[in-house]
Symmetry: C2
Subunit: 331 residues, 2 copies
């Protein structure tokens, strides 16, 4: 077995977040589905940007946020994702590397530009995303560095990767390499609408054991199994996969491992500012935990802590060291 260099390798759409406040009326007037990731083309991106208030920019992308979270917790992480070699792409590469994540995917030259997501945060802290995929459409199997996959305890990817055309080939290749090297392969279902777009393929990934560990929230597993019953969805998920973690916002999460089920409460949130990245940081904490000798329940508590910290601030990655924050919290 290859020497382990990384606890977690994350693969996803590399996206710069453009974050502004908006009210619910704005979402309705502009046809934005609240709480969801809305895919948009360049024309709509320009129209929405013209309507958007003053914004701030922060590097994001679901799986990249998770890789950054793992590093912030003190773990070793790597990331594959496609940016352009433009200004935003350089900012993106800076931020993820400066956060301690190994990142060396070759940036795209020429068009399309680095992906961006316009995120509208409503007064309740909920985020509604509007993503122009840009350079992400070029991520393909040639971007999978086999040595990195082989050297990572867990490779984790986002379901959102089914949106660009060639990333799924990259994921299938990575899964093959990971399993050949007796490594784990994990995914997040990303978003209930994403699940709706790729339900059959996601179920296939789970049922064929291409994926060993599934991250999802309540809405996503209900969408996956087309049921309004949480318990029914959990029962189906348990039958289909070896291990899963289902997050339920303020209700905490449910860890399904082998025959066992553990409900783990959420970490209290002082003040909900912006929920962007909550699920990503939960995954970071859980993945860090299980790759660093913690039990699934302990790992879920770390995940809940990291999620709470990112909800208390603007932006998808926690500013400052999660490792220090956990020490300060007396974990």
């Amino acid at each position: 077995m290859k020497k382990q260099r990384f606890d977690v390798l994350a693969i996803g759409n590399a996206i710069v977040d453009i974050i502004a406040e908006a009210d619910d009326d704005f979402l309705a007037q502009n046809g934005i589905i609240k709480g969801a990731m809305n895919l948009i083309d360049m024309e709509r991106a320009e129209k929405l940007y013209a309507a958007m208030g003053p914004a701030i920019e922060a590097s994001g992308g679901s799986a990249a946020n998770t890789a950054a979270g793992v590093a912030s917790l003190g773990g070793a992480s790597a990331y594959f994702g496609k940016v352009n070699s433009d200004d935003l792409g350089r900012i993106y590469a800076h931020d993820i590397r400066a956060g301690g994540v190994e990142f060396s995917t070759t940036p795209l030259s020429g068009s399309p530009p680095t992906a961006r997501s316009m995120i509208f945060v409503t007064p309740d802290g909920e985020r509604s995303m509007n993503t122009y995929l840009g350079a992400c459409v070029e991520l393909g199997p040639e971007d999978i560095d086999a040595d990195t996959v082989a050297a990572s305890a867990i490779t984790y990817f986002e379901g959102y990767l089914w949106d660009p055309p060639r990333a799924k080939e990259a994921i299938r290749l990575a899964a093959e390499i990971a399993h050949k090297h007796k490594r784990s392969f994990s995914m997040t279902l990303s978003d209930p609408f994403c699940v709706d777009r790729y339900r059959g393929e996601f179920l296939d990934l789970i049922r064929t054991k291409t994926v060993d560990l599934v991250f999802a929230n309540e809405a996503e597993i209900k969408s996956l199994y087309e049921t309004s019953s949480f318990d029914a969805a959990v029962a189906e998920l348990r039958a289909d996969c070896e291990a899963a973690v289902v997050t339920r916002s303020e209700k905490g999460c449910v860890v399904l491992a082998h025959e066992e089920t553990h409900a783990v409460p959420a970490w209290p949130v002082e003040r909900i500012v912006d929920t962007t990245g909550a699920g990503d940081q939960f995954a970071a904490g859980f993945l860090y935990g299980i790759t660093n000798g913690r039990s699934p329940v302990e790992a879920a508590r770390i995940g809940g802590f990291a999620a709470a910290k990112v909800i208390e601030q603007i932006g998808p990655r926690v500013r400052g060291s999660l490792k220090q924050m956990i020490a300060d919290a007396g974990f």
Copy 2:
């Protein structure tokens, strides 16, 4: 007299802020003067960026922050400043216009790129800026739209404009137009080191009454008059200019108008997060106040309120409506 269209026209260096946390050791190791605006070239910018932690980006620039603050308070404001037509320049133009500020300075094509300032925020909330001026070096008299100057009750500029080579010509032209139309002309001294670089010229602007209203903080007037005595500096400033406001952080500010002196206490700050933009928002509140029928003391209170709000968050411009916040605070 031309019909007034704007309460405030602000002119300054148009800069995107790149903001990260750092500790005092980092500043010392990298030769950054704490609390100051450090001018850097492209080579040093790249070196510092490589050493910088994960950052977020927000549109900044001292006078532009003031224009945005005036608009957020419900006033009418305009801005002149030079960006490039690159990605950061488009983001910059978006943010200032989306904040309600009239902005139509022609962007630069080709190099240099849009200016950026790497801002390191230490745990005490103090910000230390490292500015690469980029496209700002091209601001010149051709960027002064005479109709806008003539239609603005006050034209306000930042002392930092003495750093790029041609902006001072632009300012002298603007002053001439403003005074021809019986409008006020105002400046901020910007930074004690900036005052040190241009002491003679700044004193000349004040003594020749090119500038009618001076904004400064305690360190800046001490630098201007090369004294360690606040009272001595205030006495000299009073003798030299018609009106001035001197801010003193948590000690509030001193308003000098004609023979009168008014000390106005600071607005309480709940939690110091990032002092970036505090002076700019103070100026916004004061300028909004005096152009909207308030007394200088009332205007200073509005300035103190706006400064407090920006200190409680990350970034140089207040997110949300200052007008609403003032209403909520029961002013």
